[in-house]
Amino acid sequence: MQQFILRRLLVTVPVLLGVSLLAFAIMHVVPGDPVRLIAGPDAPEDVVQRLRAELGLERPLHVQYLSFLTRALQGDLGRSLRSRAPVVDEIVTRFPATLELTTVSMLIAVALGVPLGLVSAVRRASWVDYTAMGVSLSTLSMPVFWFAIVAIWIFSLNLGWFPVSGRAGPVWEWDGLRHIVLPSVTLATTSIAIISRLTRSGMLEVLGRDYIVTARAKGVAESLVVGKHALKNALIPVVTVVGLQYGFLLGGAVVTETIFAWPGVGRLAITSILQRDYPVVQGCVLLVAVLFVLINLVVDLLYAWLDPRIRYD
């Protein structure tokens, strides 16, 4: 296991370097002069020169990259061009909101997705199965922003059950809970579909195995066969996907956060892109990608721990 962890860690290093290179490149592939774009077309020459020097853009590219990397490793991602606040502070103040939204969404996705897939597998080719799988295929084809708008239209504007947007305090307070329902359910829809489909196929595969036949032949109760013998093994790939989806949602909540005006990192990324606040864009991209790589690493290690065959592959 130690060798596997070491090997896996070694593979992560070049990927993280590549990620930093790509985040660095964002500002340098902009067509035209990025400083002119940031300062505006009518900015006086001395302002442009000052900004260029401030951003260090007059130095050779490799020197700029090395300086970017060194500073990033020390937790310094520069300053926002708009608010003048350190990029790290901008991200840190918004990260709890993203983490909260993502975590609640994942809990909803697992709580609904696993039982849905389980019932579909046990009642294979019944109306329950067809309905569940039909709904999950439809969900995967539905644009998340459209789902959000329809939800707002029905539950906020017509029924008045939930607020249209915003975040109000932590999730365990009534107002905070009311605010998080629509965005978290919206964000969870795709994950519910993926998790339920995977649980179903995993269960179907496991239910045909010899040890399940043996358990049934021994007279083990059906609920125990399904819930203990089968589900435990069928859930191994589900664990992986839950981990990957969690990492994906941390960075992929951009749309949901924008629609529901949720003050998280995704919304910060979009606002900064629209305002051409490149240091903040770089910071958000870097943070999300690094998180995604690290979560992938944890999922791989977890998978190897759950299924020893992986380690020897």
Partner: protein
Amino acid sequence: MTDTWRRFTTHRLALAGLAVIAGFALLALFAPWVAPSDPIRQSLPDALRGPSLRFPLGTDEFGRCVLSRIIHGARLSLLVGVLATAIGASVGTSLGLAAGYFRRLDGWVMRAMDVLLAFPGILLAIAVMAALGPSLPNVMIAVGIRSIPSFARLTRGIVLSLKELEFVQGALALGAGHGRVLLGHILPNGVSPLLVFSSMQIATAILLAAILSFLGLGVQPPTPEWGKMVSDGRAHLLEAPHVSLFPGIAIFLTVMGFNCLGDGLRDALDPRLRARTTE
């Protein structure tokens, strides 16, 4: 071939998907003749009207016919879906072929693909759009780049599984060059999975392009684009929900069509996979 065709034509979901795609493709092709009104012409007195005989799906805030804009928008969505996937497929497949066939390139290419995969798809596309600026070709590039690593991984896997087989070794022994072996012997045998994957990728590409437009980073107004139409209707959800509702249904149907077609193609081209997934 006849078996594959029979399996495909008896797959009801795939046929339904194909019918939906064909319907939208025909609408896109004949848009100027089929659309009841000009999709760009504004008529403020008609703003935000509900569905009627004159405007079957109502009008938007500028009094433009929603149905006409959906029909013209089909051109853009299908074009972006197909061309973005073509960009991803051609670059990704070439990289995958090279990585799978030439061992020396494998590590470098696949690490580069790992870097691209480290970005959630939406964020990568948004970052590319931020760098390149909003325009139709840039949307295709941004959406296409996202699918390059997936195509590369898939192709590499195909090459690795085929290159040790007798027919490839035989071709090499007979003196065929690497290019000929790759393009003439290996690639044709890996077309099936690539075709299935491409169909599903078109669905994802259409969704992603709609997201970019929705966020204001895609095609710019007044060009009719489905994602942008949904976004524009948000401000009038209470009095005119149809402005957002109908373009969303168009996106949903098209994406569902490509997903069903992909499912059907997979079942028709690889019956073993079907046995595994439906058993």
